[in-house]
């Protein structure tokens, strides 16, 4: 593996402050759903890579898509890159979503805000697996946004995968009112949604609630976590999450999100 130069093949703003980019890079051909890349700002006062999920890979396997929210100086700089600009990326990093466990199951994808990009690549893989033997039984997605101003970004992409896609907003300005976990609970009690397996990505409080919801239903949930990172490859021990089991590196209870994760089984995490 190495840090490589990627070329921006397209750049589009999906909603205010939400940017989608396709990057041409060789890492695309071995990326898996749930893995991430580090994108390095050019400004040499900003030396650490910014972690972003791999949202999608093109059919040719030579481009990755990232979708991100402008939330600080680094993302601001990356968002200002234009068509044909070059940016340094490293990846694919981390362990993604396990796919085998979806076999024969009704799968629910839960995305909160900027968690949605992490699930699109997974949705595509799961959908493909439905048609083949040993895949998921069916897949639905529930995407939550703060409000309608976010223009339910990426929802069309999930629909294009050919799976049932539901929208929720905190203020009810689009789709169903409520946060994704509240809505999922409601739909479950109405027997509209009867998941046997959940994959989720979003802010930490949401993921914690997803874990509790899955525990109530006695089903597994795989969640993708976030933490500040320095190396992204498991060397600095900067990005840990407390876990029930002993971690593979230090034999304590602090697994590295960049290496043992970013995807963890929810019941494995100590909140």
């Amino acid at each position: 593996m190495m840090k490589e130069k990627a070329r921006i093949h397209s750049r589009r703003e999906l909603a205010e402050g939400i940017v989608s980019m396709w990057l041409k890079c060789s890492l695309a051909d071995h990326a898996e759903p749930g893995q991430f890349v580090l994108v390095y700002p050019k400004d040499s006062s900003r030396l650490l890579g910014r972690p972003f999920c791999i949202c999608e890979v093109n059919p040719e396997g030579d481009e990755i898509r990232i979708v991100f929210r402008i939330s600080g100086k680094g993302t601001e700089e990356i968002a200002a890159l234009e068509y044909r600009d070059i940016v340094e990326v490293e990846g694919p990093l981390g362990k993604g979503y396990p796919l085998e466990c979806a076999a024969g199951k009704q799968v629910l994808l839960m995305g909160g805000g900027i968690g949605a990009p992490s699930l699109l690549f997974l949705a595509q893989r799961l959908k493909k697996s439905i048609v083949s033997y040993g895949g998921a039984k069916n897949v639905s997605a529930l995407l939550g946004y703060r409000n309608s101003a976010l223009k339910r970004f990426l929802a069309d992409d999930f629909l294009n995968v050919g799976i049932q896609t539901m929208i929720a907003t905190d203020d009810g300005s689009d789709g169903i009112k409520g946060n994704v976990v509240e809505v999922a609970k409601r739909l479950h009690s109405q027997r509209v949604l009867l998941p046997q397996l959940i994959y989720a990505c979003g802010p930490m409080p949401m993921l914690k609630a997803v874990g509790e919801f899955a525990a109530e239903l006695k089903i597994p949930a795989y969640i993708s976590l976030e933490e500040h990172m320095a190396c992204g490859v498991g060397a600095c021990l900067g990005c840990v999450v407390p876990t029930k089991e002993r971690d593979g590196h230090s034999n304590v209870h602090n697994a590295r999100i960049c290496t043992e994760g970013p995807v963890f089984e929810a019941s494995e995490v100590l909140w």
Partner: protein
């Protein structure tokens, strides 16, 4: 006057290193994670993450954050302890032809001695680097490294149980670098390395919170490089024992500055995070510098300013 194949080798405490570049402890694991990016055999030495006598959990997160041309960390020395280290990390490193410098940490003197005693008999260790300068643990760590008297005492005690050369790693959070260097030398240290990180603080004004869970963290990276060069110069000119220089090295020029300031070897730290091949680029750059300036031996550059 381009000269081909200059001699980059240096010797320190009776050990010969093929070039003067190693990694700074804690920024390269035990090399395992970076072996997919870098041919470890290219490096002058590998300096491991701090090893303690038992496994350490480390600090709560966030443990790292970026700062202008640098970063702050408060990892809290999470590590699996000396037994797992010996079984796993040393066994891994044995596959490579590269000297290993084992960085040692502890809360109290006994813990440092336990590690050094236990590892002294293990194969594949060139020397120990004793971290008496970590700003991120409450006891031990930096407390030993900021008083010359304490430093002298710890050095003596560790030396007494070590069968390998002992390098004392010094903190920059002191008034006189020269005094600390002398204390380590008087304690019998075979060498010193510096600098560890500067105690620093970052506040998120919008959330009105400390950015790091530990409140303070150690500042490293190119931002500290000129201060590190000054401190290496002061230390190297205060003692006879060899010095390993580090702090913000990002290029061959930065490493050469350390050597010219008097360091026998130089270590690359946080820049490994920015560029996994940073050390290889530094080594290649030094070789190129030597070819272009007609320098036959790297040792001719060490402390060449005076």
């Amino acid at each position: 006057m381009v000269k081909k194949n200059p001699d980059l080798s240096v010797s320190l405490c009776g050990i010969t290193f093929k070039n003067p570049i190693t990694c700074a402890s804690g920024t390269f694991g035990s090399g395992m994670e970076y072996a997919q990016f870098v041919d470890l055999n290219r490096l002058g030495a590998i300096t491991t993450k701090g090893v303690s006598d038992r496994a350490w959990e480390g600090n709560p997160t966030p443990r790292v954050t970026e700062t202008p041309s640098g970063m702050m960390n408060a990892i809290g020395l999470q590590n699996p302890g000396m037994e797992v280290f010996a079984k796993r990390d040393l066994a891994f490193l044995a596959k490579y032809d590269v000297p290993v410098i084992v960085n040692v940490c502890g809360h109290i003197l006994e813990e440092y001695k336990n590690v050094v005693e236990f590892l002294s008999d293990k194969e594949g260790i060139a020397m120990f680097e004793i971290n008496v300068s970590c700003p991120n643990i409450r006891e031990g760590g930096m407390a030993f490294g900021t008083s010359p008297k304490e430093l002298l005492h710890v050095t003596k005690e560790v030396k007494a149980v070590s069968k390998k050369p002992v390098i004392m790693k010094l903190s920059p959070n002191v008034t006189s670098m020269a005094d600390m260097a002398k204390a380590a030398e008087q304690g019998g240290a075979d060498g010193i390395s510096l600098i560890n990180t500067f105690t620093a603080m970052k506040i998120d004004v919008y959330r009105r919170r400390f950015v790091l869970a530990n409140r303070t963290g150690g500042l490293s990276g190119p931002a500290i490089h000129p201060i590190a060069v000054r401190m290496v110069y002061e230390a190297a000119h205060a003692v006879e024992i060899p010095v390993i220089g580090m702090g913000g090295i990002a290029s061959a020029e930065d490493a050469l500055e350390m050597l010219m300031a008097g360091a026998r070897m130089a270590a690359v730290g946080m820049m490994n995070f920015h560029e996994p091949e940073a050390m290889v680029h530094v080594i290649d750059g030094i070789e190129k510098y030597m070819e272009e300036t007609g320098t036959e031996k790297i040792v001719d550059l060490i402390g060449c300013l005076d």
